[in-house]
């Protein structure tokens, strides 16, 4: 008797683990299916393209993860990203016109934007924490404001004429490998023949690697530090957090600033990649980023979620998009599949309650 009940329990544990980690299997399944069906899907080049294409959702989702864990939501990240894209392009173009070197233009444009990009989050956070405005409304207001301001800033025309170096960074790779010639850093080997370019293997796209660095730092903060612990506590029981002496209001403000920071980073990365400043740069990606966070295991009620989960959620969407383009399917299909996966994710979360340790008993 004892052994049978134990073994069913162990079987169940296996099911629970599956329920908690289905997203990884799903992602692998997607990759296998598309590699099998499509041509040229299974290649280093294509996988890197998927990573680069997913960078925007990834950044927005990382910030959104913090907000959603606190039980809030940030609808403004897409247009804050657009605003920051316009601001960074504007700074670069303006400084260039003053005759500064491209490196300085880009450094100041990127750095200045990341700082300015904290402002929308500061406002969102103050509204939510101090004035008790529901996050949906506060950030929905910011959604409109950010979009309007960015269109005004660029006169509704995408900003062009940026330093060419921006595109070189935004579309470059950390490492290039040419068979027979070895590795070179940051740019292809000098003076290679046209015929050889086809053999060139670029590795580690700059935009993705920079974003990944920021995301991993914040994943560490969320999972290992007091700040992360308080983020979960605020989402789990805000009154308990207050009574435990956690400065909840200040914490919420910081969380919305993190979301805003990642949106700003998304804007800067867009500017570097497309060498233009567009108000609608991130508009289509806000809902994708929320979907990625929820697929990754977060609950909109707050208290759960993590950045690695959101990263996997993002890749599920990214692989789907690229895979369908690869198969020549119309991209509208993507919305149907993302919708289905999203609902599936929530259902799986509800049907697989977590495994409870019984310890000695």
């Amino acid at each position: 008797m004892m052994s049978t009940s134990l073994s069913t329990r162990e079987n169940k544990k296996w099911l629970y683990i599956l329920g908690k980690n289905w997203t990884i299997l799903f992602l692998l399944g997607e990759a296998i299916v598309f590699s099998w069906m499509g041509t040229g899907f299974f290649s280093i080049k294509n996988f890197q393209n998927i990573l680069v294409a997913s960078t925007t959702i990834l950044l927005l989702a990382a910030g959104e993860t913090f907000v959603i864990i606190t039980g809030g939501i940030d609808l403004s990240v897409g247009f804050v990203m657009g605003l920051c894209c316009v601001i960074s392009a504007k700074i670069m173009v303006t400084l260039q016109a003053l005759g500064l070197s491209p490196v300085i233009c880009i450094a100041l444009g990127a750095g200045g934007t990341l700082l300015l990009g904290l402002l929308p989050g500061l406002v969102n956070g103050i509204l939510v924490a101090k004035f008790r405005v529901p996050p949906f409304i506060a950030t929905f207001g910011m959604y409109g404001i950010a979009y309007g301001v960015s269109e005004i800033l660029c006169n509704s025309v995408p900003i062009a004429g940026l330093p060419a170096l921006a595109g070189f960074i935004g579309n470059g790779y950390l490492l290039y490998y040419l068979p027979g010639r070895g590795f070179t850093w940051f740019s292809p080997p000098q003076g290679i023949a046209r015929a050889e370019i086809r053999n060139l293997i670029p590795l580690f796209p700059n935009v993705f690697m920079l974003s990944l660095l920021a995301i991993l730092i914040f994943a560490f903060i969320l999972s290992r530090t007091v700040f992360g612990q308080h983020t979960y506590a605020v989402g789990g029981n805000i009154d308990a957090a207050r009574r435990a002496g956690i400065p909840v209001d200040r914490h919420l403000i910081k969380v919305y600033m993190i979301a805003s920071f990642f949106a700003a980073m998304g804007g800067v990365m867009y500017t570097l990649r497309f060498v233009t400043g567009r108000a609608d740069a991130g508009a289509a990606r806000m809902l994708d980023s929320i979907a990625a966070v929820v697929i990754g295991g977060a609950s909109l009620y707050g208290g759960t979620g993590n950045i690695i989960g959101s990263l996997i959620g993002t890749l599920i969407i990214g692989v789907l998009e690229t895979g369908m383009v690869n198969l020549g399917l119309p991209t509208h299909n993507k919305y149907v599949y993302v919708g289905v996966i999203l609902i599936l994710a929530v259902l799986i979360d509800q049907f697989f309650p977590e495994f409870v340790e019984k310890g000695g008993t």
């Binding site: 007091v226 308990a240 208290g303």
Partner: protein, 255 residues
């Protein structure tokens, strides 16, 4: 117990809400390690008095002494700093966090990673939590379980352990057994006895007279904001206490 100084002494506390006198010149003492039952019908002023002691309300008149010194408790943090912890029925636990994270909530212990980066010290927090739970005779299968997976009694125990770990000298329990099954009620009452034996004073509010009689050394009865009686548990019975709670003359009439 009467020969040392009281841990807590409230004198002639008055609390009004507009024209309503919720607490009218109530005085009481609690000695270290003593369990005092605070009894009274709905609206008798129990909760108001508790909230005055725990810093939620400020009294309109009266004085509070803690460990012999006159104190002013302006907010709940003041009370907690003195060593007065109040556990309401909602317990104030973060259900999404595990047991030891709740015990250390807001006061997390960190260690340094690579000599510079402060990270949560899970091992330390878990060991310390295990120590306090063992000291209080509380059994919880794994401290890594989240609160939402624990029973009502276990949650109660976690909340109490947290207070004790952070050196609560006086614990105020508001209806600690209300939402629990019979076995769990018994465990919580056992825990109250353990606390008392370890020198922690407890004020317990409960509608379940039977529970209070089991653990309290002394009973204080309020009625319509006034203290109508104070008895040593061993020198009274539930009939007398009910009589005090609803008004002795009513019971007398029925006789």
């Amino acid at each position: 117990m009467e020969n040392n100084t009281p841990l807590l002494e409230v004198k002639d506390i008055v609390k009004r809400f507009g024209g309503l006198v919720a607490v009218n010149r109530v005085s009481m003492e609690v000695y270290p390690g003593e369990v005092v039952g605070l009894l009274g019908d709905n609206g008798a002023g129990k909760s108001t008095l508790i909230k005055v002691i725990s810093g939620v309300y400020q009294p309109d008149e009266g004085e509070i002494y803690f460990e012999g010194k006159k104190v002013k408790i302006n907010n709940p943090m003041d009370a907690i700093k003195l060593g007065i912890e109040t556990l309401y029925q909602d317990l104030a636990l973060a259900e999404n966090l595990n047991v030891y994270s709740n015990i250390f909530l807001g006061r997390e212990r960190v260690k340094s990673l690579l000599g510079i980066i402060p990270v949560l010290d899970h091992e330390y927090m878990m060991e310390e939590s295990q120590k306090v739970l063992s000291r209080l005779g509380i059994e919880i299968p794994s401290l890594k379980n989240r609160i939402k997976n624990l029973s009502g009694g276990q949650r109660q125990s976690v909340a109490i352990s947290r207070s004790v770990y952070w050196n609560a000298k006086l614990l105020i329990l508001d209806e600690p057994t209300a939402a629990l099954g019979v076995t769990e009620q018994k465990k919580v009452l056992d825990l109250v006895r353990t606390l008392s034996s370890q020198g922690v004073a407890v004020i317990i509010i409960s509608h379940q007279l039977y529970d209070v009689f089991q653990v309290a050394h002394r009973l204080v009865v309020l009625r319509r904001g006034e203290k109508v009686g104070e008895r040593l548990t061993k020198e009274t019975n539930s009939d007398e206490i009910v009589g005090l709670m609803v008004g002795a003359e009513l019971v007398g009439e029925k006789k």
